[in-house]
């Protein structure tokens, strides 16, 4: 069973607030990813990282930032939340060779 954890699981916040979604993995994976998914819809890549101090933007601009200071930790920050950010955010990780991605349980974000 994959060991990748996201917190919080559910979050309701007001417009304009700054929030950080946490993601940690204990598998020693170099690659980590953030995807955004609306209910029943496809996944959109927001950010990914190949390793420490490496981050890249995905194809969905969600006005968010990430950091990768430690291998196991890949937090996602929204500087100013908007209702359009209401969605589920999925964190995943994989190793360099196999690239099979293991997903966390997700954070369901509602911005009011």
């Amino acid at each position: 069973e994959a060991d990748i954890y996201q917190t919080p699981r559910y979050l309701v916040i007001g417009t304009g607030k700054k929030i950080t979604l946490e993601c940690s993995q204990t598998m020693g994976h170099d690659k980590m990813y953030w995807y955004q998914q609306d209910p029943g819809m496809e996944l959109h890549l927001i950010h990914y990282s190949y390793g420490v101090n490496s981050t890249e933007k995905g194809d969905l601009s969600s006005e968010s930032t990430v950091s990768r200071i430690r291998t196991e930790h890949f937090p996602l920050t929204l500087e100013s939340a908007r209702p359009s950010h209401t969605s589920q955010y999925l964190c995943a990780s994989s190793d360099q060779v196999l690239t099979e991605a293991f997903f966390g349980q997700g954070t369901r974000l509602t911005v009011v």
């Binding site: 819809m41 496809e42 995905g58 999925l90 293991f102 997903f103």
Partner: protein, 111 residues
């Protein structure tokens, strides 16, 4: 740009029937993954296909990969209600890139 297309997007089938979900992708790749997602849940890895002609089976599900046709199939045999979920295929463009996901196939198995 790598495009991944699944069809059908919605599938309602009766228990006991067989069906195939298709996943086409636009650029050469020899790494393809199938995931399952239950409503309100995260994604669970089902199959990892790493070479042309790869075939994997788990219970009533069987996945295959044809890299020359850029096609993967997920075959369902004698469907049961517990298989109701959304199934995603994902393709890796090159080693080191993130996975590109299809839109998913929402499967409903009815009595």
């Amino acid at each position: 740009e790598l495009k991944v297309e699944q069809n059908p997007l919605f599938l309602s089938m009766q228990e006991g029937k067989n069906y195939t979900i298709y996943c086409n992708y636009s650029t050469t790749s020899d790494r393809l993954y199938w995931y399952r997602q239950d409503p309100g849940k995260s994604l669970e890895s089902l199959f990892v296909l790493l070479s042309n002609g790869a075939v994997k089976q788990e219970g009533r599900l069987m996945a295959s990969l044809d890299t020359k046709a850029r096609l993967s199939t997920l075959h369902i045999t004698a469907a049961v209600h517990d298989l109701s979920a959304t199934y995603f295929c994902a393709v890796e463009l090159n080693s080191g890139y993130a996975l590109n996901f299809g839109k998913g196939t929402s499967l409903l198995v009815t009595p």
